[in-house]
């Protein structure tokens, strides 16, 4: 998810007759060969598809004029939803940051025993969808609801989004800067706060952004916890009137919030760039000795994992043991199969779809490339139901044969989840030096062949993390699937939702268990699918 910054130690100068080695010449613009037109066209097409729902929603919202749209926005209910949404996002982001950074620091930078165990345990919550988690918590604590309930459950579900990139960065952090800070007289704690955190900032912001965007689009967990936000309100609108203008207006407001979040992240990131991997060796960070605090730290992490994975595991296990009476086992097979199939197809298509834009960004970073990337982010911040309704409108009106087919569902998944894969693909491409492609060309390969023989194989592993993220997201997607799935198709998530909506825990448990089992191996990929450092 992040590229580790490493500093190139200056080589000591040799004897005078041979001048000391100087840094290699900067090879700036690689536009000599230029970004091929088909690549730009492909990136544009992807952005266009992602932008379609935005356009449809905006048109729908302003169909009856701006005044009418304003009247729908300017009412107490919208204020209430805004307050709820903002307080949820702020609180959960803060708590996720504290939990994620704290845990990452304990695991990667202290003498805490069992780091490799904790690394897995603290990513594992990602295998439990938030709405399954809320189901588990509701079953355990029936009164859990409202802001408190929503913040607790979403924080426990989403903090790994912060933990994962921050831990990866802390693990690869160069000790040099921190040593320098220590030498300047800062204590270990202040050193971490002033130097470590500063270096961690891009990774932290990336993680917090993910949490915020997830929260904006979260439906299942919040509905179950009786905490209305824009997304649940849009769903309510959908339920009362399918494709209502009021729903579209709410969606436009939600887009505004998403734009705000994206802009804030961009501003906070400032000029901090991902440093290129240099050839100098990274000095492994020294770990802070915890001493007597060890047991306290262990207790903290144990509590965190118990709450984040223990509760859902216990809850699902308990209801699973009573499932035999409620469950028609015949259903689980086909449901699992269609979930698997949809997840695989959508993950492959999404990963492939990221390539043009990711390539452009990693290689040239033109305004066009950045615009394409931001458009995909924006579309993906819409709740599934909005994208689904836009696609329904489009397919009913324009491409009727596609209406209610799996193809449209896959398109929706691509729109919703492309940023997850984009981040990974970008990093994977950036990690492969463009010079390798040049080398292949001087060895007689045409550009496409050079890509297939050299660059693609090198990028493949890096893109796996994105693939995994999309797969998990698809298997747990709820609202778009409910609307767009072909008649008769259900996924584990929708089947779980059907059962859990009637609070039939026993019937829901097998689907929840299947969801977790399906997602679990992919957390491994998230941990180990990182790019190998390029040879330098």
């Amino acid at each position: 998810m992040t590229t580790a910054p490493t500093s190139t130690a200056p080589t000591p100068s040799g004897p005078a007759p041979t001048p000391g080695s100087t840094p290699p010449p900067v090879r700036s613009g690689r536009r000599g060969v230029g970004a091929p037109l088909p690549l730009r066209a492909a990136a544009f097409l992807v952005a266009l598809v992602c932008a379609l729902p935005l356009v449809v929603v905006a048109l729908k919202a302003f169909e009856a004029g701006a005044g009418d749209a304003f009247a729908l926005v300017w009412r107490p209910r919208v204020g209430e939803l805004l307050g709820n949404t903002v307080s949820l996002v702020v609180l959960t982001c803060v708590i996720s940051t504290v939990l994620g950074v704290g845990a990452a620091w304990l695991v990667e930078r202290t003498s805490l025993p069992g780091a490799s165990f904790w690394r897995i345990a603290l990513v594992a919550p990602l295998a439990v969808p938030a709405f399954v988690n809320s189901f588990a918590w509701s079953a355990l604590v029936p009164g859990l609801e409202g802001l408190a309930g929503a913040v607790i459950v979403t924080s426990l579900s989403y903090f790994p989004f912060v933990f994962l990139p921050v831990a990866a960065l802390l693990r690869s952090l160069d000790q040099g800067l921190e040593d320098a800070a220590r030498a300047l007289g800062l204590g270990p704690w202040r050193t971490f706060a002033r130097v470590g955190l500063a270096q961690v900032r891009p990774a932290l912001l990336g993680g917090v952004l993910l949490v915020a965007l997830h929260l904006l689009a979260e439906y299942g967990a919040l509905e179950m916890l009786r905490f209305p936000t824009f997304t649940t309100a849009i769903l309510d609108q959908f339920e009362v009137a399918f494709d209502s203008r009021s729903g579209s207006v709410l969606a436009v407001v939600l887009m505004g919030i998403a734009v705000t979040v994206l802009t804030l992240e961009l501003l906070a990131r400032g000029r901090a760039r991902h440093a290129r991997v240099g050839s100098g060796t990274v000095r492994r960070a020294t770990r802070t000795r915890l001493g007597r605090a060890t047991s306290l730290a262990l207790l903290g992490l144990t509590t965190l994992t118990a709450l984040a994975i223990g509760v859902p595991a216990w809850s699902i296990g308990k209801w699973l043991s009573r499932a035999d009476q409620a469950m028609e086992p015949a259903n689980l097979g086909p449901t699992l199969w269609s979930t698997l199939a949809l997840g695989l197809v959508a993950a492959v298509v999404t990963t492939v779809a990221t390539f043009p834009a990711a390539w452009l960004i990693a290689r040239s970073r033109s305004w066009f490339a950045v615009a394409v990337e931001r458009v995909t982010y924006l579309a993906a911040s819409l709740p599934g139901v909005v994208v689904a309704l836009a696609l329904i409108t489009l397919t009913i009106g324009l491409v009727r044969p596609l209406y209610q087919t799996a193809t449209v569902l896959v398109v929706a998944y691509v729109i919703l989840f492309i940023p997850r894969a984009m981040v990974a693909t970008r990093a994977a491409i950036a990690a492969v030096p463009p010079e390798l492609g040049d080398a292949a060309r001087t060895l007689g390969d045409r550009p496409v062949r050079a890509f297939l023989r050299v660059q693609l194989p090198l990028m493949l592993r890096g893109t796996m993390a994105g693939f995994a993220l999309v797969f998990i997201a698809v298997t747990t997607e709820l609202t778009a699937t409910l609307l767009l799935a072909p008649t008769g198709t259900q996924t584990l998530a929708t089947a779980f939702w059907d059962a859990s909506a009637s609070l039939d825990y026993a019937a829901a448990a097998p689907y929840a268990a299947a969801l977790v089992v399906l997602s679990a191996p992919l957390t491994y990929l998230l941990l180990h699918g990182k790019n190998e450092e390029p040879l330098t």
Partner: protein
């Protein structure tokens, strides 16, 4: 083995001009080193030749074929060139054998004989064939990169600072192995480097580049002995510059009257003397006496900075190279004697007030 010919090459990076009318002929089977500091445009020149960058104007000819010119553009993969970059750019996902055979036709890729032959050519053991690039040392990587480039028997081999990332000792050994392999293949070679020793020892022809222009092209000995200007002189090694007066084949400067039979004309001029041309001795031995102001000791030799005694109000500084064991102490007085002929540039027919100085070395 083909002649490489560049004429009037102008090129730019994202709108900024980098090369301004480069003319260069690399005769078939010979080696030319393009020498210049970072950012002078030498890598850009190589990328133009390789086909990664289109020149704005000018021609690139390989043998009789124009590969780049107005209306003509041959893709890199069709130019039949070998290219070795500073980092080697071995494919990390392929082992050594697969890297070397990468450019070969499919059926030849399986044959180990060619891989072994190439490994031997670059002075590596056949045992390395199954290693992955990250299991090789830097020098080995560069040699494998060369073997990979040579596998297709390129007409011309381009080397982009291939040794600069290596440790000094490894640099020399690798350079010698590469030179031997290239000689064996009788390839036409262009080496881009900022290392004067590398350029002088490796090449049949040195081209000095400065801010996108070639300032001097010639055989290493000629360019070293007779630089066309201060910059050329400095880029090939330490040099002292003194102002002088040339008349009838004798140049008069702070070091006295020195014979300069090759210089023609008369008037104010600039005299270039290499530190190794100065011999130090007992102050009584010569009329030209100086005080040691600084020394830099390198072990095998040393550079000694000297302030020449007042010479008609002109306190000139020069720099001499001595054996390390004979480094004089700072503050001591020595006599200075010039061996061989000084090189005279910038002759102005009108006499002018002379100032002498020592060009600082990088």
């Amino acid at each position: 083995m083909k002649t490489l010919q560049l004429s009037g090459i102008t090129a730019s990076h994202s709108g900024t001009p980098v090369l301004h009318g480069i003319d260069l002929v690399v005769p078939a089977g010979s080696t030319t080193a393009v020498l210049g500091p970072s950012g002078c445009g030498k890598t850009t020149l190589l990328r133009v030749v390789a086909g990664f960058l289109r020149p704005d104007a000018g021609h690139v000819r390989v043998g009789d074929d124009v590969v780049a010119g107005p209306g003509t553009w041959v893709a890199p993969e069709k130019r039949g060139l070998g290219y070795v970059a500073q980092e080697g750019n071995l494919f990390p996902h392929l082992d050594v054998a697969a890297n070397i055979s990468y450019g070969l036709p499919r059926r030849e890729r399986r044959a180990r004989a060619r891989v072994d032959e190439l490994l031997e050519l670059v002075g590596l053991s056949g045992d390395l064939a199954r290693r992955r690039p990250d299991q090789l040392s830097g020098g080995q990587q560069q040699r494998v990169a060369l073997a990979r480039a040579l596998a297709r028997r390129p007409r011309i081999v381009l080397l982009d600072e291939p040794f600069s990332a290596l440790d000094p000792e490894l640099r020399v050994a690798t350079r010698e192995a590469v030179a031997a392999a290239l000689a064996h293949e009788q390839a036409t070679v262009v080496l881009v480097t900022h290392d004067q020793a590398e350029a002088l020892s490796f090449a049949d022809q040195v081209a000095i580049m400065h801010e996108g222009r070639l300032t001097q092209v010639g055989a290493p000995v000629d360019v070293y002995r007779a630089p066309s200007d201060r910059r050329s002189a400095v880029s090939l090694g330490e040099a002292c510059f003194l102002s002088g007066q040339l008349r009838d084949g004798v140049v008069t400067c702070a070091l006295g009257a020195l014979p300069a039979p090759l210089a023609s004309g008369s008037g104010a001029c600039e005299v270039i003397i290499r530190p190794e041309q100065l011999r130090l001795g007992d102050p009584a031995a010569s009329p030209c006496v100086a005080e040691v102001t600084r020394t830099a000791f390198y072990g095998h030799d040393a550079l000694v900075e000297l302030r020449l005694d007042d010479h008609a109000g002109d306190r000139a500084n020069v720099c001499a190279r001595t054996l390390g064991s004979e480094t004089p102490p700072i503050g001591s007085r020595v006599s200075v004697r010039v061996i061989g002929e000084p090189h005279v540039i910038a002759i102005h027919e009108a006499p002018s007030l002379a100032t002498a100085e020592t060009e600082p070395q990088n």
